[in-house]
């Protein structure tokens, strides 16, 4: 996988910060994505480029079950979200829409916004600032959903 810039966020980052309630009923994810992380990084949508990474601490994506949260990150081309741990609904939603979510205990504390990193899903490793970090592999069941491109793609496969 390719090198991308890091955008780093705090522990217990809730999904309201990823996309605020006032934008959830907009017609499409594409209209919502301009407002990603608006409360914390008002220029996030302008600054992020496809292949970049979002890095969080503990309990990333807690709070509301809004699938728009992983949805806007995927629509903006975020390559993966890497965190020390994830809140369960965000984690499941991300896999369901085909956005890789990677648990990596050490990397988040060693990086800051603007650093670059590289991720190998197959090796389960991440590289940042010249150092290699091991990541927790997804359970096989979830890995399969992700590799099929998400739950709907997997459902369409079954429909054959």
């Amino acid at each position: 996988m390719s090198v991308g810039k890091i955008f780093k966020f705090h522990n217990d980052l809730d999904t309201d910060q990823i996309i605020a309630s006032q934008y959830l009923l907009l017609p499409t994810i594409d209209e919502m994505k301009e407002h990603a992380f608006e409360s914390l990084e008002p220029d996030f949508a302008a600054k992020v480029t496809p292949g970049d990474f979002v890095v969080g601490g503990e309990n990333f994506g807690c709070g509301s079950s809004r699938e728009q949260a992983p949805g806007v990150l995927k629509a903006l081309g975020v390559q993966a979200v890497v965190a020390k741990s994830f809140a369960r609904i965000f984690y499941r939603n991300a896999i369901n829409i085909g956005l890789p979510v990677i648990v990596c205990r050490e990397l988040p504390d060693a990086v800051k916004t603007g650093d670059e990193m590289e991720l190998s899903l197959t090796d389960g490793t991440a590289m940042a600032n010249g150092k290699s970090y091991s990541c927790t592999r997804l359970p096989a069941y979830m890995q399969q959903i992700l590799s099929q491109g998400g739950l709907i793609a997997s459902l369409n496969e079954q429909a054959h």
């Binding site: 006032q22 017609p27 709070g63 741990s85 369901n96 709907i152």
Partner: protein, 418 residues
């Protein structure tokens, strides 16, 4: 090896004799609920992404417009029309303006032993009746709608032994905020919070809903009470029957156990911007507020309105405060009318609104502006949750919120002087 209530519900839904934490099972879903926060996207995916669009059992589905009702813009109206038309076309039960989704589900649908997915994080509320309710996103909801089934990773269970009884002036909301403050916002991540013990017997179904509803704020997959006589009587009064009534086995495996003595709980408040930043309410007394909110799926039931009304009765809301009172459902609203509570609120200067999610989710009537402060019985106090990113939300009980509305600054009910 014994099973917990949650494991038994999953085993039944999966059609297997035993389920244990860590297993992944395919389960038949008993019900699915979706609200206007995401349903327009679900409907779009149904039409545009599925090779073989179909609905396994429309009778398992419930669509509820509660987040932005009545609509606040042509775009919202369009999103809700999409949902309304789809429900009508497919014979899906549809509710609009009649209450917050979890209150509607509890009043009309949820039965003990059921496994329910809801496209809303507070679906864990249903554990108050011994059901396994859990929040999902709209893709999971769509998959369930199409197939009638889904997959679950069986969660570990944490046991919460409740002892004693809450003192007068202390409420289940104080108890649950105290628990969350104690175990943290990720203290029950991926796990089930099972509430039991003599203290649980002192709690009504409405009280239990307060506890279960906020379980997601500790990261839990769900929370659950055994469907005891209190729950079964409540269900019978509403003409429903359980799917299954489960108790946890004596030798069930718990990953952790906590004990909370209800008699020791004090009024508390959660400070901005984290639900687990919980302190004694007295510690935040004196914080000037601009708005107070009594409502939500956590704390907008008749008991909460009674508490709020008893405090504002014969008093006036502070000049600089908007006090929003939002019954959680039409049933609650009608009951409050009958009991004269709405008169009391109106005479005090409160703004009584139609049942909806209101300012609790920050995109309905009542959102707050730059640097404004809200004290709320809502579910969350995240940064900007109730409006402008610079605004602040404190969470407290109905009593603390009503007292603060009168005083114009955060205070507990016992501090109000006539």
């Amino acid at each position: 090896m014994g099973m917990t209530i949650a494991e038994k519900i999953i085993a039944l839904a999966a059609g297997v004799p035993e389920a244990k934490a860590g297993d992944i099972h395919t389960v038949n879903l008993d019900r699915m609920m979706s609200n206007d926060g995401t349903t327009h996207l679900t409907v779009d995916m149904y039409h545009n992404r599925l090779k073989d669009p179909r609905i396994a059992e429309p009778k398992k589905m419930v669509f509820i417009v509660d987040h932005n009702v009545p609509s606040d813009s042509p775009k919202t109206a369009a999103a809700q029309k999409k949902m309304r038309d789809f429900a009508k076309e497919h014979g899906i039960d549809f509710w609009e303006g009649k209450g917050v989704c979890h209150q509607i589900m509890m009043e009309h649908y949820v039965c003990p032993g059921e496994l329910i997915f809801g496209a809303d994080s507070h679906t864990c509320t249903y554990g108050a009746l011994g059901a396994f309710g859990t929040g999902v996103g709209c893709t999971d909801l769509l998959y369930g709608m199409v197939t009638g089934a889904s997959w679950v990773l069986v969660p570990e269970t944490i046991k919460f032994n409740l002892t004693g009884k809450l003192r007068e002036g202390v409420y289940p909301r104080d108890l649950m905020l105290t628990i969350i403050g104690n175990i943290s916002a990720s203290g029950a991540s991926y796990q089930v919070m099972e509430f039991c013990g003599d203290g649980a017997k002192t709690l009504t179904v409405d009280d239990r809903m307060v506890l279960c509803n906020l379980a997601v704020e500790a990261g839990a997959k769900t929370a659950i009470f055994e469907a005891d006589e209190i729950a079964l009587n409540w269900l019978k009064e509403r003409g429903r029957k359980p799917k299954a009534v489960f108790k946890s086995d004596e030798d069930a495996v718990y990953v952790k156990e906590y004990t909370f003595d209800l008699s020791k709980i004090e009024p508390v408040a959660a400070r901005p911007d984290f639900v687990d930043d919980v302190v004694p309410a007295k510690k935040v007394c004196g914080v000037r507020i601009d708005q107070a909110f009594l409502g939500s799926c956590n704390n907008g039931r008749i008991g909460d309105l009674r508490v709020g009304a008893s405090i504002v009765k014969g008093r006036k809301i502070s000049d600089h405060v908007r006090f929003l009172v939002v019954p959680a459902s039409r049933q609650v609203y009608l009951q409050a009318l009958k009991e004269g509570l709405i008169d009391i609120f109106m005479e005090s200067g409160a703004i009584v609104m139609n049942p909806n999610c209101s300012v609790c989710w920050g995109s309905c009537q009542g959102v707050i502006g730059e640097n404004e402060v809200l004290i709320s019985t809502g579910t969350r106090n995240f940064k900007g949750r109730a409006g402008h990113p610079s605004s602040k939300v404190y969470l407290g009980s109905a009593a603390t919120v009503a007292a603060s509305a009168v005083k114009g600054e955060i205070c507990t009910a016992d501090m109000l002087q006539d």
